[in-house]
């Protein structure tokens, strides 16, 4: 079996940042696995600005932000990239199995950094009742359809939850000529950044309902509407406040969950509520030499924070390799 000093899974901002940092800290053999054919991860579909203010002191789009890291990585010969590589198994001894078009490979990592990012919570996880027609999307899928594929998912949109991607998509849909009819948030405040509320919702006169929840989704083949009601401080529906909004599209933006199924398979202790590794120190897990960074370690608001976190992970990995000899 091939053994590598450092294997990193995921080449979004977390994985790329960790690879660069590990190299800067003296690691000479770095193997970066990415399931997509491109580096950059979700940054590629985030064509809005707001990236890099903290980290580069510049205002960049997602692809521009990714490009800074991609250029650096490509200039470092000690980082080997394996794209279209999908990790399916991970053991506690840090043996990874991954699928690629044409083969299945196994690699043992002396040190491993998991930068697998997160996924969006679904309609099903929030248990919204009603029918299951077409027209229900996670905000990130809608973003991918519009920004990458050039497809407009719908014309009249209701956004459930005020997570950042949902807020950003409120503006994106509006700019594409669709009508965003409401953003519905069950809490009394936004889940996203204040700047996104102002720039993406308020500035476009999109109604934002706090303390409201979606009761039901309607429609047989395609979404035809949703019913909404006010909730009290215990998130219970207030009788008599129900109203209906006609729409053809529902976006779900109720939060993110770290994608940690692989480290769970390896036996890393996971917090069942948050799906984050149980840890006293940033990036460390219950398995020595197995680090988790970026949104897989903890869901961050900003890519800039992911980059900072992954810098540390690269450093920790280098220290681990040095001490392990």
């Amino acid at each position: 079996m091939i053994e590598r000093d450092l294997v990193i899974v995921g080449a979004g901002p977390g994985g790329m940042g960790a690879a660069i940092s590990a190299h800067e800290n003296g690691v000479k053999d770095i193997f970066l696995l990415e399931r997509d054919q491109y580096l950059g991860g979700i940054l590629n579909q985030c064509i809005h600005t707001g990236f890099g203010i903290d980290y580069f002191k510049e205002v960049l789009t997602g692809p521009e932000y990714a490009d800074r890291f991609i250029k650096k990585i490509n200039a470092i010969p000690e980082i080997e990239i394996s794209a279209r590589s999908f990790v399916t198994h991970l053991t506690k001894d840090k043996v990874l199995t991954y699928f690629k078009p044409g083969k299945i490979e196994t690699v043992k990592a002396k040190c491993l950094i998991m930068a697998t990012g997160c996924r969006e919570k679904t309609r099903e996880m929030t248990h919204i009742a009603g029918t299951r027609p077409s027209g229900i999307f996670s905000a990130g899928l809608a973003q991918k359809l519009i920004n990458i594929e050039g497809l407009l998912p719908g014309n009249e949109v209701v956004i459930v939850g005020s997570g950042d991607i949902g807020l950003i998509m409120a503006r994106r849909f509006t700019l594409e000529g669709a009508k965003v009819k409401a953003v519905i948030e069950i809490q009394d405040k936004t889940r996203g950044l204040l700047r996104n509320v102002v720039q993406c919702v308020t500035d476009f006169d999109i109604p934002l309902y706090f303390n409201h929840k979606i009761l039901k989704i309607f429609g047989k083949d395609r979404v035809t509407g949703v019913s909404v009601a006010k909730v009290d401080s215990c998130m219970r529906e207030v009788a008599g406040t129900e109203f209906k909004i006609d729409c053809d599209t529902v976006l779900i933006s109720v939060g993110l969950i770290p994608e940690n199924e692989l480290i769970e398979m390896a036996g890393v202790r996971i917090d069942k509520k948050t799906n984050c590794p149980v840890s006293d120190e940033t990036n460390k897990t219950s398995i020595p030499g197995l680090f988790v960074c970026g949104n897989a370690f903890k869901v961050y608001d900003l890519a800039d924070s992911v980059s900072k976190d992954s810098e540390l992970a690269g450093k920790l990995a280098a220290e681990y390799l040095r001490s392990a000899g």
Partner: protein
């Protein structure tokens, strides 16, 4: 115009099982389905249980066909390469009074011919079903119960039927039927003629029967809401777990499935609207509470999907009969639970009814009884996966990360007839996992678009009217 020997209305598990059975004979047979794909009606929300035959009234038609169907399904699943797994089932008792009822159920099952029934005690349960509520004192163990994928069974039955000459027509909704010299069936796709007509129209069997003036039964949809758990919970239970049956249903169960994800449910509620597939907050509460009574460790957070299905109910038993008022017309109606299990036995009964009423059945010289098993990477051991990928690189191109489905499998599904995103999901499981297609939807749309030569904006979830997107900006 072509005159078919037999036309079957409805391509769910009953219609396709009959179609496949008839494809052994020298007959011109056609299957008409109103939806875009097969199994999109009642069958798609079936739990996938192959029942042993318990919980049916002694002397009932459905009980007899269930016991027979349980045996026949094993052979069919081998021939068609559909995974059938004998898991066994436990009907659990919590009180002495309930335990007494188990003996009654055992006796009833035995009178129907259910083999190897056994009452097991609490120490057996601790050992063989460790997650079961510790308060359970006994259970009726039916070892012949099993699980199968209901939709893949339908697809594979239809594929095999088609290979043996049965013609399939989708998006073909029956609008009127007249009995002249032949049955003249007016549909959304034109007029069909047949000498014999079988009504396997599920929820709409009463409407179809009514078109020939036979309106002595009514189909009432009995809604069942079901909740699917994460695949991580595959080994939550070793058997199918049942409470003691209620009057209108078998109660809320913990169900193992062929795909690995356990299901909890279903509810049972008689409703009016044959299109009402909505789920409710009350349904979730009830199912969760009832399922936790059986297995207390079930957690609400493990739920990754939910859906509702409608059982086509007419009275307490199946209605399978030749109609003297319209000679040549056979009703196969009210096929509620255990319809999936009974389907192959129903097919034999329908065949016999055709024969008794004048259809000559001559066996074909060449009947292709077997089909090549469909490959599912998620079910393949790593060694097999390695060999597959070596042979075809497309198997290494993972499209759906949650359920581990490759591009090759998706392409195969489209080659075998998937026309919609749901069709791909039912055949391959892509989009059926915890992210619900957030990551793979665009890739699947592109594969479907390329292979069927359909513009992206015309790709649908489950047929016309359910397009995924509204506009392709490339068209502007």
């Amino acid at each position: 115009m072509k005159i078919y020997d037999v036309i079957i209305i409805g391509a769910g598990v009953v219609g396709t099982a009959i179609g496949r059975e008839l494809s052994r004979y020298k007959l011109d047979t056609a299957l008409l389905e109103k939806e875009t794909e097969l199994a999109f009606g009642v069958s798609k929300s079936n739990s996938g249980i192959i029942h042993p035959g318990t919980q049916n009234p002694p002397g009932s038609l459905k009980g007899r066909l269930c016991v027979q169907g349980n045996i026949l399904t094993r052979k069919i699943s081998m021939e068609l390469g559909v995974d059938f797994k004998e898991t066994g089932e436990l009907i659990v008792a919590f009180t002495e009074e309930e335990k007494l009822r188990l003996y009654g159920l055992k006796k009833e099952g035995e009178s129907l011919g259910v083999p190897r029934l056994e009452i097991v005690d609490s120490s057996w349960l601790r050992k063989n079903e460790p997650n079961l509520n510790k308060e359970a004192i006994a259970a009726l163990f039916a070892p012949t119960a099993g699980i199968i994928s209901p939709y893949r069974l339908v697809y594979d039955l239809s594929e095999n039927a088609a290979r043996n000459g049965v013609e399939l027509f989708t998006e073909t909704k029956v609008e009127a039927i007249e009995k002249k010299e032949y049955f003249e069936i007016s549909t959304s796709m034109g007029v069909f003629r047949a000498r014999f007509l079988i009504n396997a129209a599920g929820l709409f069997a009463d409407d179809v029967s009514g078109m020939l003036g036979i309106d002595d039964f009514k189909i009432t949809p009995r809604k069942g809401e079901e909740f699917l758990l994460d695949k991580k919970k595959e080994y939550l239970a070793n058997h199918l777990i049942f409470p003691l049956p209620a009057r209108t249903s078998k109660g809320v169960l913990v169900i193992k499935t062929a795909d690995g994800n356990p299901i909890i449910g279903p509810t049972a509620e008689d409703i009016e609207d044959k299109d009402d597939l909505s789920t409710t907050d009350e349904g979730l509460k009830k199912v969760l509470a009832d399922a936790k009574k059986l297995i207390p460790s079930i957690d609400e957070r493990d739920i990754i999907a939910y859906f509702a299905g409608l059982r086509p109910v007419s009275g307490n038993d199946f209605i399978i009969r030749h109609e003297e008022k319209a000679p040549g017309f056979i009703n196969v109606a009210g096929i509620q639970s255990p319809g999936l299990t009974a389907a192959p036995a129903i097919a034999l009964m329908a065949r016999d009814l055709l024969k008794e009423n004048g259809l000559a059945l001559k066996k074909k010289l060449m009947f292709h009884s077997h089909r090549k098993k469909t490959i599912h990477l998620f079910a393949a051991p790593i060694k097999k996966a390695r060999a597959l990928i070596k042979k075809d690189p497309g198997y290494g191109d993972i499209v759906c990360r949650c359920e581990m489905v490759s591009a090759k499998e998706v392409e195969g599904a489209v080659d075998r007839g998937a026309k919609t995103m749901d069709g791909i999901k039912f055949r391959t499981r892509a989009q059926a996992g915890r992210c619900h297609g957030s990551f793979c939807t665009t890739r699947l749309m592109k594969i479907l678009s390329e292979k069927t030569n359909t513009p992206l904006k015309e790709i649908t979830k489950r047929g016309r009217g359910s397009e995924i997107v509204k506009k392709d900006r490339g068209d502007d």
